[in-house]
């Protein structure tokens, strides 16, 4: 009994409930004529699509910058890279890496500026991140109209000005990672090996980074700033580095997302991309102050699992598409839970 | 104690006000018929083109065998009708009516009304 209690406490109620829910969904799937293999590969594909974007949360949480609602900034860098690679007519895996190659420096510059900004607003990072993300998306919406891209695949065929709202990558680098060493079993099961390997490499890089001297210093900044300061760590520098890494991961993440999704979504598309990523890492058991790679993997799997399974299973049961509403409630409920939970202990300490 | 009394009074006040708002703000859809109808075994033929108006508003013309729609708000109203009979004389009459809290469609049968018989107002 005691054991179960500690287990629940460790796992946290939301994770447990959603984990069980997902489990029930998988069990029910065959009974409502949902093919379990199709569902499973859908979950895996979406897991690969979102993984890096969720991973992008880790560095900033670790240095105490909170949940990176400002991920749209990184996404914008990624979009610029993607659009430019199409303009350059690069295709296949080479095209993908061209896009990443262009996106990363842009993300680094943006992240650097963003990091400097966040260093001046310690304590209010999350709210500001939210609005920095939003305003940069709105600003780029104007830019997409004005930037002088010429490729016929990207601008409106006639009439309008600027880039299209969605651009297909079909002829360029569609599924270039997904299909790399992909495994097809039978008719229904598909495993996007390349994408998962790529995600694994990214996870490994971040894991390795936090084992280096800089990495431990970054963790120290987040978990115990006074101690870090006393031992001579440059707090602002560490925070800036973490923001840059987060932003770069955001840029790489969106390109990986797009090669699987098949479309580049411009204009207001990146607006809400931050929320599923934030919800994902929180579901994985991260808090506002602490996040690990394991949190990323578990969280992304659970969250994307729920998002994939609910429409197919629930819709077959009650003949209504409630997935959108469930997505809103689950993702925001999780964020809300994280925001209100951590401070409870703090306020108990202050005793107000 | 006094505090609770005031609270209860406020709640009661709100309930009363809501009830009044509900009663006086409710909109009813009325169908006005100028068609031949039978009522209690008597037949009331539609014979004239009739002008009607609600609550002293503008007149609407309703030809024989026609139906029109009107919206009224609140429980108490009057309808005014005007028509020219076969002698060429203009007849005009006014009838008050009350809708209470009725649900559903309300029908006014003009041929019954101009005979001043009860039952010109039907709730369906």
């Amino acid at each position: 009994m005691e054991r179960i209690k500690t287990f629940i406490e460790n796992a946290g109620w939301p994770r447990l409930i959603i984990g069980l829910f997902l489990f029930v969904l998988f069990i029910m799937a065959p009974f409502v004529n949902v093919n379990i293999f199709t569902s499973l590969s859908d979950v895996i594909v979406r897991f690969g699509m979102w993984g890096i974007l969720v991973l992008a949360m880790v560095p900033m949480v670790q240095t105490g910058c909170g949940l990176n609602f400002g991920i749209p900034l990184g996404i914008i860098a990624g979009l610029l890279g993607a659009v430019t690679s199409i303009e350059l007519q690069t295709t296949g895996i080479l095209g993908l890496f061209t896009a990443i190659g262009i996106a990363v420096p842009i993300a680094a510059v943006l992240g650097w500026g963003y990091g400097l900004l966040l260093n001046r607003v310690k304590g209010g990072e999350m709210t500001i991140a939210l609005y920095v993300g939003f305003s940069s998306v709105a600003f780029m919406s104007m830019m997409w109209l004005l930037l002088p891209y010429k490729s016929q695949d990207m601008i409106w065929a006639y009439g309008g000005q600027g880039l299209r709202t969605t651009i297909s990558v079909e002829n360029y680098w569609f599924h270039s990672l997904n299909d790399f060493l992909a495994i097809n079993i039978g008719e229904h099961f598909y495993f996007p090996t390349g994408m998962i390997i790529f995600f694994g490499v990214m996870c490994f890089l971040i894991w390795a980074l936090f084992r280096t001297k800089t990495g431990t210093a970054m963790t120290a900044v987040g978990s115990n700033p006074e101690y870090a300061r006393a031992s001579g760590v440059n707090i602002d520098k560490m925070r800036t580095i973490s923001v840059i890494i987060s932003t770069i991961l955001g840029a790489v993440g969106i390109i990986v997302y797009e090669q699987s999704f098949g479309f580049i979504q411009l204009y207001l598309g990146p607006f809400w991309m931050g929320f599923p990523a934030v919800a994902g890492i929180l579901l994985g058991g991260a808090s506002v102050h602490k996040a690990t790679i394991v949190n990323v993997i578990i969280g992304t799997f659970l969250f994307q699992g729920i998002l994939t399974m609910t429409p197919s299973v629930i819709n077959n049961i009650i003949q209504t598409d409630m997935s959108e509403t469930i997505r809103i409630i689950v993702s925001n409920g999780l964020i809300l839970y994280a925001l209100t939970r951590t401070v409870r202990t703090k306020s108990a300490k202050v005793k107000i | 104690m006094k505090r609770n009394m005031i609270r209860i009074l406020i709640v009661i006040g709100f309930v009363v006000v809501s009830f009044l708002l509900f009663t006086f703000g409710k909109q009813y859809e009325i169908l006005i018929d100028n068609k031949t109808v039978s009522l209690d075994g008597t037949e009331y033929p539609a014979e004239y083109t009739i002008n009607y108006s609600f609550d002293g508003g503008e007149y609407e013309e309703l030809k024989i065998k026609k139906r029109k729609k009107a919206n009224v708000v609140g429980p108490n109203h009057f309808i005014t009708v005007e028509y020219t009979d076969e002698t060429g004389e203009t007849v005009s009459m006014e009838k008050p009516f009350s809708l209470g809290l009725s649900e559903g469609t309300i029908i006014v049968n003009l041929p019954v009304l101009i005979e001043s018989k009860d039952g010109w107002l039907v709730r369906e």
């Binding site: 900004l117 305003s135 709105a138 104007m142 107000i352 | 649900e103």
Partner: protein, 370 residues
């Protein structure tokens, strides 16, 4: 004198920037003065109540209450019922207010408790809370109404038989408050009754600040710990401030929709928080201080920009779309800017306090040594 001037300029940088922007953009748009004045009067009547509902949580130190969308949702639920019962005109409006008020109180209470658990990050929490409750709202309105909650009129339901339609026609209620006391000056219509209601709210806010509760709120806003030591029930006071704000927003949303005349069941409330807050900030308010004049000035400046920018964009680059994006950018950008300035100030104060503390302790240590 000179120093004072530059200080005023810095403190009012945002409104001044907007005035300059408007002066540049109005001629470009080619809109007439009469049109603009009419438009501004309409928009003042439409938004003032909502924007003013933000003031009380600011007094209580809880920042910009993005949770006013909760009140807006409550108001819309009231409007749905009233429309279903066919209560029209002013009676319908007030009945909608009365039936949605208990819901607004409940939601405000929930929000207040959530925010008490998130001290120091009220704004982001209230923002997310808005999304979360929006999900619940969708669940109730899109799936519950017509199934569990009885709706008698089929006109309001989706063809599948349950769930409210995307748009609800409020034509029977449209302008019932705005046109209650008709006043026309030249070609310009003035919504007198709405302004009277707003005036009543202003008087309420001024009066409220002077009451015991209002004073308590200010104390809580300045320093929670000090207030708690002075015997003020901090958490309760904070909850009350959010409840008041939510209820006012609920009334504000009903006034807003009464003016617009149609309700987008699933969208009308979404942008309300952002637009109201952006307007207040444009008026020169900050996260810790906002006044009634801030609300007035803010709405006028923000909405001049709103009306003018698509037209100006069209003249400048031949595309109205760019103006649309420009105003979205400005709305979010202005909030980001205000938040950054505020956080920066707080952070600097903290740094300074720490330095003073450190100096004091080192000099103390030195004193002991000597």
């Amino acid at each position: 004198m000179n120093k004072n001037l530059s200080k005023t300029l810095i403190n009012n940088a945002v409104p001044i920037m907007f005035i300059v922007l408007s002066i540049l953009a109005i001629p470009l748009s080619g809109l007439s003065g009469t049109y603009l004045i009419q438009e501004m009067l309409t928009r003042l009547a439409r938004y003032l109540f909502l924007v003013l509902s933000l003031l009380i949580p600011i007094i209580a130190g809880m920042g910009l209450n993005f949770g006013i969308v909760l009140g807006a949702m409550a108001g819309q639920i009231g409007l749905i019922f009233v429309t279903d019962w066919a209560i029209v005109g002013l009676s319908g409006m007030f009945l909608a207010m009365i039936i949605s008020m208990p819901l607004a109180v409940l939601l405000g209470w929930v929000a207040g408790i959530a925010l008490n658990h998130a001290k120091g990050r009220e704004m982001v929490t209230s923002y997310i809370l808005g999304f979360f409750i929006n999900g619940v709202y969708q669940l109730v309105v899109l799936y519950g109404m017509g199934k569990i909650i009885p709706i008698s009129s089929n006109k309001m339901l989706l063809p599948r038989g349950y769930g409210i339609r995307n748009a609800i026609d409020l034509e029977p209620m449209r302008g019932s408050l705005d046109n209650l006391i008709p006043l026309q000056i030249g070609d310009i219509k003035v919504p007198v009754a709405t302004f009277l209601l707003v005036a009543a709210l202003c008087i309420f806010i001024i009066w409220f600040r002077k009451t015991k509760l209002g004073q308590d709120m200010r104390a809580v806003g300045q320093d929670m710990e000090v207030a708690a030591n002075a015997g003020i029930p901090v958490e309760k006071t904070r909850v009350i401030s959010i409840i008041i704000s939510t209820v006012l927003a609920c009334i504000g949303q009903i006034i807003f929709l009464q003016n617009i005349g149609t309700m987008n069941t699933y969208n009308s409330h979404e942008q309300i928080g952002m637009f109201s807050i952006a307007a207040l900030l444009v008026g020169g308010a900050s996260v810790v201080k906002a006044t009634i004049p801030n609300a007035f000035v803010g709405i006028i400046l923000f909405h001049i920009m709103f009306v003018v920018s698509p037209r100006a964009g069209k003249t400048l680059v031949g595309d109205a779309q760019i103006g649309e994006y420009f105003r979205v950018f400005i709305s979010y950008g202005i909030i980001a800017l205000a938040l950054v300035l505020h956080a920066w100030r707080v952070y600097k104060d903290k740094e300074r306090a720490r330095l003073i503390f450190r100096e004091a302790s080192t000099s103390e240590a030195k004193g002991k040594e000597g």
